[in-house]
């Protein structure tokens, strides 16, 4: 009879202790895989969002509080729109795009909606170009492109392609190239609730607006909003030239630190924060979850290891006669070692695989409810979990294996 057949038959004959040990190991692996998968998916989502949003900086009124990037303009505090002009005039290195916003409630078709005033980038171009003479002077004096940065000229980007002129691109880029005073962009969900399509008209603040575009769904709060030209919203609402937030899209992460210092010096009455600071809480939570899962894995593996050791010890005690018989028939202590280790490895492997399956299912089922992001099972957690389970099972079987190898056949037969 081959050694693996011996192991298999032994496990089949005494399933209860094996299942108990297997469950203890599986539990540890399941905890590791599920929590690590949730943390990794959340981390990926944060990274993807940051990548989509670019190296963003938010300029907020000093008193404004903020928790969610997409609701950065919903705090109700305002600051003068002249700050936008100040940023343009400062020609700060790294400012590639800007998006000032004013958010106000309004009633449309007896429904309460949020109207967001946005400023098209063509407005920035106009003001930026008023400094043409100074810019030309600086560049002629420096004999080059002045304060430049790799892949950007360090100043408000004036590149415009057809894709940027497409109003629907606002859902993704959060920047609109041009917008007529009485044109509206409508969020996907709101358009469906109000039954609006491109080209429809809508009454807002007592004026007729044209629906210039229904935006594609973005999965954010923007899907519930109406967007109109900032100056029109200011004038019709009577709010005057104020904004709730100025989003600054920096050209790259490298310039963000310097840019924040520049903006803080330029606008001392504001709070300047980066998107990284905003997601810091989420990143911290992911890190905590990841560490907790490792701690939980370690504790459960200790429990699992103790359980495997107990099973193996009792197994060696219960099978003394059979082991003694094997040794009398010529089996070496090495063979008994291998028998015990093989059984332990099987327990570790099955426990690991069961743990991966259970952990993966838990992550897929409950992950989206916990962190509200699409889930994928962490491959590294699966590998570490399975390897850890086998190693723990082998380590905890060392003493039982040693005990089995030291059995004396003559003493074993005395029990008969």
């Amino acid at each position: 009879m081959k050694i693996h057949n011996l192991v298999w038959k032994e496990m089949k004959q005494r399933p209860a202790p094996c299942v108990a040990a297997l469950m203890a190991v599986a539990l540890g692996v399941a905890a590791l895989v599920s929590i690590q998968s949730v943390a990794a998916s959340s981390q990926t989502q944060v990274a993807r969002q940051m990548n989509e949003l670019g190296a963003n900086v938010l300029v907020l009124p000093k008193s404004a509080t903020l928790e969610d990037y997409y609701a950065a303009d919903l705090h109700g505090e305002t600051m003068p729109e002249s700050y936008v002009t100040d940023i343009i005039m400062a020609q700060a290195v790294g400012v590639e795009e800007m998006a000032p916003k004013l958010c106000l409630p309004a009633t449309v078709q007896d429904k309460q909606v949020t109207v967001t005033g946005i400023l098209p980038r063509s407005e920035f171009f106009k003001k930026s170009s008023w400094q043409s003479v100074d810019l030309m002077f600086q560049e002629m004096e420096s004999g080059g492109l002045g304060q430049s940065h790799e892949n950007c000229n360090g100043r408000t980007c004036q590149l415009t392609d057809e894709a940027m002129k497409d109003l629907k691109s606002y859902a993704k880029t959060r920047v609109v190239h041009d917008l007529a005073p009485y044109d509206l962009l409508v969020g996907a969900d709101l358009a469906s609730q109000l039954g609006l399509n491109d080209g429809d008209t809508l009454e807002l603040y007592g004026e007729q607006f044209d629906v210039a575009a229904v935006l594609p769904a973005s999965g954010t709060i923007d899907d519930q909003r109406l967007f109109a030209h900032l100056h029109t919203v200011q004038d019709l609402s009577g709010e005057g030239p104020v904004v709730n937030v100025i989003e600054v899209m920096a050209c790259c992460e490298d310039v963000t630190a310097g840019l924040i210092t520049n903006l803080e010096d330029l606008l001392p009455d504001t709070r300047v924060i980066t998107i990284s600071q905003l997601v810091e809480a989420q990143v911290g939570m992911n890190r905590l979850m990841s560490r907790l899962s490792l701690l939980l894995f370690a504790i459960l593996m200790l429990v699992g290891g103790a359980s495997v050791a107990a099973v193996m010890f009792s197994n060696v005690s219960e099978r003394r006669k059979e082991m003694g018989t094997l040794m009398a028939l010529g089996a070496t202590p090495r063979l008994l070692h291998r028998l015990v280790f093989m059984k332990a490895a099987c327990l570790g492997l099955f426990g690991g695989v069961c743990g991966i399956l259970v952990g993966g299912l838990i992550a897929m089922a409950f992950g989206p409810m916990i962190v509200d992001v699409p889930m994928s099972v962490s491959t590294s957690a699966m590998l570490w979990g399975c390897t850890g389970a086998i190693l723990v099972a082998l380590l905890s079987s060392y003493l039982p294996a040693r005990k089995a190898a030291q059995l004396d056949p003559s003493i074993c037969f005395q029990d008969v």
């Binding site: 936008v84 005039m89 008023w130 003479v133 100074d134 560049e139 002629m140």
Partner: protein, 253 residues
């Protein structure tokens, strides 16, 4: 009689106060709006400085003083108007330059061709104001940039001289013809002496030269007959200045 005697000094004081508030009569026409003043000096080839303000605070007074000194020194080239952003009669000029949304006090200079040659807020120096006085061709270059176009400046010996072949090819090319403006400047035009100084080109040129500027004020280079159109076009695309697909690719977008 008694009423007339008491009324007259009050009227005189009011007139004096209004005159003081409005600044020297030679610098600002009291009975016209900013837009009208903008139109008048343009006919005289004058630059117009607008000082937008809300209150007559220290900063406004300091800026006003600097501008007045500058305008007085360049009386034949410049005019000045102080505009309160809340003045109902001045809303046309306030809206034209969106002054309500600027930090004030702000000074903005408009060339006779309509190009904005400077904008400064809170403080301005005489040197900065001097830099904002442009020659006619320089103002054309700035206007082109403010219209979002690449300015192709051809520097030639005299009005009859031909610009570089590369400049003409540039203006005829499919990539640039709709996004560029050609400005020809003759070295023998005395009014453009300052322009040559600013672009660092000697007026005693034998052969034509070409300078490229891209919006909002990027200097792309000075070229002579040894540079081919292809090289210049490559340089423009590499700088990402004409917003075509080649520029987008060059900038990794």
């Amino acid at each position: 009689m008694k009423d007339r005697f008491t009324f007259s000094p009050c009227l005189a004081m009011l007139v004096a106060l209004l005159a003081f508030q409005g600044g020297p009569a030679s610098l600002q026409a009291a009975d016209s709006s900013g837009v009208q003043q903008l139109e008048t000096p343009a006919e005289d080839d004058q630059h117009t400085y607008f000082l937008f303000y809300r209150n007559n605070d220290q900063r406004t007074a300091a800026m006003e003083k600097t501008i007045e000194r500058h305008v007085a020194a360049h009386a034949d080239e410049a005019a000045f108007r102080k505009v309160n952003v809340f003045d109902k009669n001045e809303q046309e000029i306030v809206n034209m330059y969106d002054a309500r949304r600027m930090s004030v006090p702000s000074v903005l200079c408009v060339a006779p061709n309509g190009a904005v040659t400077c904008v400064y807020n809170r403080a301005v120096s005489g040197e900065q104001l001097k830099r904002s006085l442009l020659t006619p061709k320089y103002a054309d270059v700035v206007l082109a940039l403010q219209e979002g176009k690449i300015a192709v400046v051809s520097l030639v010996r005299d009005a009859e001289s031909e610009p570089l072949a590369a400049a003409e090819q540039f203006m005829d090319s499919g990539d640039f013809k709709d996004s560029a403006t050609h400005v020809k400047v003759s070295a023998d035009d005395a009014s453009e002496e300052e322009f040559f100084t600013r672009v660092k080109v000697d007026r005693n040129i034998d052969a034509a030269k070409m300078i490229l500027f891209a919006p909002p004020g990027r200097y792309l280079g000075t070229f002579d007959a040894t540079t081919s159109f292809e090289t210049i076009a490559q340089k423009v695309h590499a700088s990402g200045s004409c917003s075509c697909e080649k520029c987008q690719e060059a900038r990794g977008r």
